[in-house]
């Protein structure tokens, strides 16, 4: 398929990726320049920018946009599995270990932290 399609404008993709990388670095420094900037928004912006960049590479440089849809599904399979893995890890990702009462329990009685954790 990719042998027959018209060549995409690679330089436009290159410029977009370069600009997006510069924006990413700018966003990463936002917290330094503006200390009160919400970290959740900053993190979300960074993830969205990375996904857009990854999509640009996949669609245009790897020609996924011009391939058969089934090949795209094969390429997307890891994303589905990673989503399931993240759901499985959600108790850790949501910071269950960072709750103040758990931190206090660990700091007060480090040797009994494990049984306390089990009872939670």
């Amino acid at each position: 398929m990719s042998g027959t399609h018209q060549e995409p404008n690679y330089m436009a993709v290159f410029y977009s990726l370069t600009i997006l990388t510069a924006v990413e670095v700018g966003v990463a420094y936002t917290n330094t320049i503006w200390p009160g900037f919400p970290l959740v928004i900053m993190g979300a912006m960074l993830v969205i920018l990375a996904l857009v960049k990854a999509a640009l590479v996949g669609m245009y440089f790897m020609h996924l946009k011009f391939e058969k849809r089934t090949l795209g599904i094969i390429a997307m399979t890891p994303l589905i599995l990673c989503t399931l893995l993240i759901i499985a890890l959600l108790p850790d990702l949501t910071g269950a270990n960072r709750k103040p009462e758990k931190v206090a329990a660990v700091q007060a009685e480090p040797t009994e932290a494990s049984p306390a954790a089990d009872s939670n």
Binding site: Y10, F14, V47, A50, M62, A75, L89
Partner: protein, 213 residues
């Protein structure tokens, strides 16, 4: 029997249903899907360990963003030279293809050099980021950092060698405007390495720590 053999052309292998150009391209896509699962698992595990840790160092303060941003830009540039190389051979320009592929390999080699410089700086610098310790702390920051960036670096190393093999095949006249599958397949691998670095750059280097409770 021998009469029938001489009468009919040899049986062509069945055409790949998803990538009619070659089975090799489909094979590379399946390999990359599997490889992406490995990277995905590493990054998800990293996320879980980091979110569950109370003393995770702030990566934006420990790791240099400027150098890695330059490394990201370098890989993006090498992806462009890769597509230019494929474009050249599609137009029958063998010399152009070889030169662009050599530039791509050079980009990968410089990337590896910068990574070696970065690792040396982290290991011997003020933070003493080792595999099992971070200064006086025991967080898994170093272990996850070196495992993920090292695994990616191994892919870049493999990519540089793969590119050089393709260049040598090109010197022997293996590729042409009609037959450029080998160049397209190495391109898929190289762009994948670039794509993974884009994600690694964001998740390992840029995402800030949430405030401690």
């Amino acid at each position: 029997m021998s009469h029938a053999t001489t009468m009919h052309a040899p049986v062509e292998p069945a055409e790949s249903p998803l990538t009619p150009e070659s089975w090799g391209k489909l094979g590379m896509w399946v390999f990359l899907a599997g490889d992406a699962m490995t990277f995905g698992s590493l990054l998800a595990g990293y996320g879980a360990l980091r979110a569950g840790s109370l003393d995770w160092p702030d990566p934006t303060k420990v790791l240099g963003i400027n150098l890695t941003a330059a490394m990201t830009f370098l890989l993006i540039c090498s992806s462009v030279t890769m597509v230019k190389g494929l474009s050249a051979i599609k137009h029958g320009n063998q010399k152009g293809m070889r030169n662009y592929l050599l530039l791509t390999a050079l980009g990968g080699a410089i990337f590896l050099g910068l990574q070696a410089y970065e690792w040396t700086h982290l290991i011997t610098g003020e933070h003493k980021v080792l595999f099992t310790t971070f200064g006086e702390q025991k967080s898994l920051f170093g272990a996850t950092f070196y495992a993920i960036t090292g695994f990616h670096g191994a892919h870049v190393t493999g990519g540089v060698i793969y590119l050089l093999i393709v260049v040598m095949n090109g010197l022997r006249g293996k590729y042409s405007a009609e037959n450029h599958n080998g160049v397209e397949i190495v391109g898929l691998y190289w762009h994948f390495v670039d794509l993974i670095w884009i994600l690694v750059f964001t998740f390992i280097y840029l995402i800030p720590n949430p405030p401690n409770p």
